[in-house]
Chain length 199, copies 2
DNA sequence: TAGAATAGAGAACAAGTGGAGAACAAATCA
DNA sequence: TGATTTGTTCTCCACTTGTTCTCTATTCTA
């Protein structure tokens, strides 16, 4: 189910503003925020976000509009290993890892284990676990999981220039790689790191 | 179970005021505080908070309204900051952090935040969180929290020789320090590391 | 350019919510 | 014990809020 332009816009506004609301906002309050004059108009948009799974369905209740929380209670899934130059090695049955609040982004997150030393100068070592927030945009300088040519996945620092994307390794023996924007798909942004010293 | 607006509001007011009441407040007293005129109205709200697990159920007794203690789910305590050359900066009220199994030792563990760059070559950076298993022995090569002369705490790699203990920093600009065994008390061994990239 | 999709206004409706107050029973106190 | 306090249950009522309509304007698309 695709969202229309306005629906995306409203969802973005919700994300940015909803946390500031102490109680969940009602339709009327939201109309005010969005500059709408009719609840009915807003209702259509919210309904679309509900079926898209982004907003909690209110089953006849009057408890305001709430975004669905990526439930962090149980933990976030450990999906597999990522090694520069290969696809992500997914494991069959993702297990859940309990990760402290602190290492989570706002959106849905998952964990990968890093294979290789390409980010060693950033303090990311072979065998470390990284917490990734799944999203398709990144800011310059972010460390991202990038899918190159729909084939290989890699963890690198990203630099986005007009017409080209540069992926920087953090290892003196490796150099930065340059791609065309359409070759690179961002799959997530690094939010946290976990390392175990128990063998 | 989701709370309604009023229920949230009442719970917030309870949190803010309940501690000031020496005896737990009765329904009537609370009605005064909340500006309600009817016990029955308040009772509905309190009942909702009880089923939500936020207020202690009163089984026919007349003890007033008490909040349930924030049930210490699970997690290990975050105790404060450790900077080479100083005592551990303990915080007043240790909060609990949910840490994945993987980073825990067998014994009781706690979390410290690292201040300074003395272990930078081991991939432990300023601001990182370390999971420490509290114990007084360590094996050679372990990274430990060591208390020196009962004064300053530090995170270093340990080497125990007959008659002396060497603490190795992992920073080219720092050299190893040698102590007599009686000067050094091991307080715990590094088991895990956490780093947040969200600022 | 015609038709479809998208967006909004506004009216009307039904159900949820919040509160008042009465009545009652059990616990507590004098 | 009797009187009082306190928690509980009930009904009733006003208001809010989510929902569903219809109608119109604008934008996109074949």
């Amino acid at each position: 189910m695709k969202l229309t332009r306005r629906q995306q816009e409203i969802y973005r506004i919700l994300q940015q503003n909803l946390e500031h609301y102490q109680p969940a906002p009602t339709f009327d309050e939201l109309c005010g925020l969005l500059g709408l004059k009719s609840r009915g108009s807003l209702h259509k948009h919210i309904q679309a976000l509900v079926v898209a799974g982004l907003v909690e369905p209110m089953q006849g209740l009057k408890r305001g509009i709430r975004l669905v929380e990526p439930s962090t209670d149980e933990g976030i899934p450990y999906l597999g290993r990522i090694a520069a130059g290969r696809p992500i090695e997914a494991i069959n049955q993702p297990e859940l890892m309990q990760v402290p609040e602190l290492l989570l982004g706002k959106g849905p997150c998952y964990v990968l284990q890093v294979s290789g030393d390409s980010m060693i100068d950033e303090g990311i070592y072979d065998g470390d676990y990284v917490v990734i927030e799944g999203q398709e945009q990144a800011r310059d300088g972010d460390i991202v999981v990038a899918l190159i040519d729909n084939e290989e996945a890699t963890l690198k620092r990203i630099e986005q220039l007009p017409g080209e994307v540069i992926l920087h390794a953090a290892n003196p023996s490796m150099s930065a790689l340059t791609f065309k924007p359409e070759q690179v798909r961002i799959q997530g942004v690094l939010r946290g790191l976990l390392r175990s010293y128990t063998k």
